[in-house]
Subunit: 406 residues, 2 copies
């Protein structure tokens, strides 16, 4: 059994790095707050006797030796960055839970056959730089390191510059640390476990993701003297797109969602009809065929709206992540650990993307979910119960022990 | 006849203060570019022999003596501030046209019976500080000077601080310069004169304006894991409001417009459902009953949308300007001047608000419109023909001479 109080202490101690007035955390990737938590994490890993390295994209790896160093390590961990108005658990539970597993094994003097490697992946959230789960995507070869290093945030800072500014461009090439498999603990970020009174979600699959950048070019014009029929209003155009996306996602049933999270009017003024808007779109489904249908329907709707309103709408697909089907053996290992420990559980699909989804494309991977309050995440009010966090960490530890061998 | 080349030269010389790459002007009120054009204008007024004063809200007054100084001056002028992506003529033609009238009378050695006062009103545009036509509103007593001085821009700078930062908080109290009447020359900012091939618009009325500040409070939540039916999406709410306003304005016929010019998502992120949006609304009609109907319909629509989407929408009416009916005698004087000079003309309603609309509430006022290209304004592409600008300035001069007496 892990030390629930110690885990809880770590979560709340690190929540000070970027703490918000409403009890959440604002710790954008590669920000000064992110540097603080990274420094804390490195020291905690070193104190736990791990060999710590940082790769060229800033991901942190802490290695615990196994008896058989010819075996590939079992990877566990998650991320320590948050949304602009994020919570204390999303990513953090999985990373500090992994640390807690190491501390518990150390205290109990347990040596494993295979080594264990705990990881803090850079920019899982994707708020500052696209795509989300950026570093793990580079790790599995979806993008080159140079491509990722050149990605820019909204003020034009590149990933490379941001890494240098906090001193976290590591000396190890991306992929230097080979892993045999990866298991990630996370809060569910949805309402199902709580509603059904289950403690553990055995994650068997994950939604695919489509991310787009969009730009609407209408025509700026005087709010008072431009008759309604002559307008080419970029905001009215965006409004139709927002509602069309909502309708399309609903049409494709419970297994689809669509969101416009960012929309910025260029040079806004109260008495000027908006002429230009940059926006983003996020569409998801666990079913690849539905993802294709979402893309098709959305493009058709946007083309019709743009033509009718005589405005130009450009859409760039900047990221496509296929649905995830986790490794059956690892899924069984998670399920078995929950059962052995006496926790109630159910199979579940992840609505959110996770680094484990990337890793699953090149190695066996799986995930452990625990409930979060009202299913709320990406919100400062995000909350999770201490016993559930401890339960998830215990399941993680027992899964690791089963895979790594004692 | 005024000097068309000199007028054109002044317009293009001052267009350098805040010139944009696309040929427009960005000269927000009380900005450093506004200081530049104010300095230029003060010097030009002094060079033309005017007695120049600045009032407590930064409006500039240049007085040309008349034979009978017991008579109240005839006021002419407009504004030199622009929209964030504004043009070279909106306000500028009326202010530099007034200067050109003075220069022409000086050159011709014409003395008038009543004095003439040319004015550059502070913050006509209303982009940086609300309301528009701020200084002339204070002049006529719609707001106290202190109230206006405390208004804030988007970064929290007050009008008072902005005035001090460019050294234009004048030593004269607002209203120090009494005026007997006011005539304002302006580009039409709409398509009618051009479409009908008329040179002069004799403005007999102006639309009333409703300005609102709005705030939507929904709930931030994860874009991937929050099912569509559980969302309280602030952007989807805004989208319905935008389209409802469009439909309501159209329903009330050609004599109504409605615009949402500003909308800012708080803490935007691609994979977060927008939780909070601040926005503005601008509704207009030349008919007071229609203004009331717009207000009623809009509030009802917003209440229905907010209740259905389970979000909170707060609406504050921050400005209500009643429709304007200009002074019949002054309208006739403008019409007569156009006729005498041989210009084609038509009566017209102003779609935009103007300082003359404020002044009309306490003194006789009127306006002269000239065509602008494709009716485009509040756009960097705003354009007007030199002969039309000269024609309008001639009509302004002959109207002034008729009122002031030679
Ligand atoms: N787990 C999580 O919130 N990931 C962020 C990436 C995404 O799913 O949008
Ligand atoms: N003339 C003009 O564009 N005024 C700005 C104020 C407004 O009408 O919105």
């Amino acid at each position: 059994q892990i030390d629930s109080a110690r885990l809880w202490g770590s979560i709340h101690e690190t929540a000070q790095f970027g703490a918000t007035a409403k009890g959440g955390v604002r710790r954008l990737t590669l920000s000064s707050e992110d540097k603080q938590v990274r420094d804390w994490f490195r020291k905690a890993c070193e104190d736990a006797g791990l060999e710590v390295h940082t790769d060229a994209l800033g991901s942190q790896f802490g290695l615990r030796k196994g008896r058989d160093m010819s075996k590939l390590p079992v990877g566990i961990g998650s991320h320590l960055d948050t949304q602009p108005t994020g919570g204390k658990y999303d990513g953090i539970l999985g990373t500090l839970g992994a640390l807690e597993v190491i501390r518990t094994l150390n205290d109990a003097g347990i040596e494993t056959e295979a080594p264990i490697c705990i990881v803090n992946w850079t920019n899982e959230e994707g708020s500052r730089f696209a795509p989300a789960m950026m570093a793990s995507a580079a790790y599995v070869g979806d993008f080159t390191t140079d491509d990722i290093l050149s990605r820019k945030d909204i003020v034009g800072t590149t990933v490379g510059q941001a890494l240098d500014s906090i001193g976290y461009r590591g000396d190890k090439p991306v992929g230097f640390q080979k892993l045999g498999c990866f298991v990630e603990l996370h809060i569910e970020q949805g309402p199902i476990l709580e509603a059904e009174g289950k403690t553990i979600g055995v994650v068997d699959s994950g939604q695919g993701v489509l991310w787009y950048d969009g730009k609407i070019s209408g025509f700026e014009s005087h709010a008072g003297s431009t008759p309604m029929p002559l307008r080419r209003d970029a905001l009215a155009t965006l409004s139709e797109i927002v509602l069309a996306m909502e309708a399309i996602a609903k049409k494709h049933g419970p297994n689809a969602v669509g969101t416009i999270g960012e929309a910025v009017i260029a040079n806004p003024s109260r008495n000027v009809i908006p002429g230009e808007i940059a926006f983003t779109m996020d569409c998801r489904s666990a079913d690849g065929a539905i993802m294709d249908a979402l893309d098709r329907d959305l493009r058709a709707a946007i083309a019709e709206i743009a033509a009718r309103r005589k405005v130009e709408v450009k859409i760039d697909l900047v990221w496509r992540k296929a649905p995830t089907h986790f490794d059956p053996k690892l899924i069984a290992a998670v399920e078995n650990a929950a059962k052995t420990l006496g926790y109630s559980s159910r199979r579940i699909t992840s609505g959110a993307g996770h680094d484990a989804c990337n890793l699953n494309t090149v190695m066996p991977a799986a995930m452990v979910f625990v409930p979060c309050k009202d299913g709320i995440s990406h919100n400062e009010l995000e909350d999770a119960a201490q016993p559930d966090c401890a339960a998830g960490t215990n399941v993680l530890m027992h899964t690791v022990l089963a895979i790594a061998g004692v």
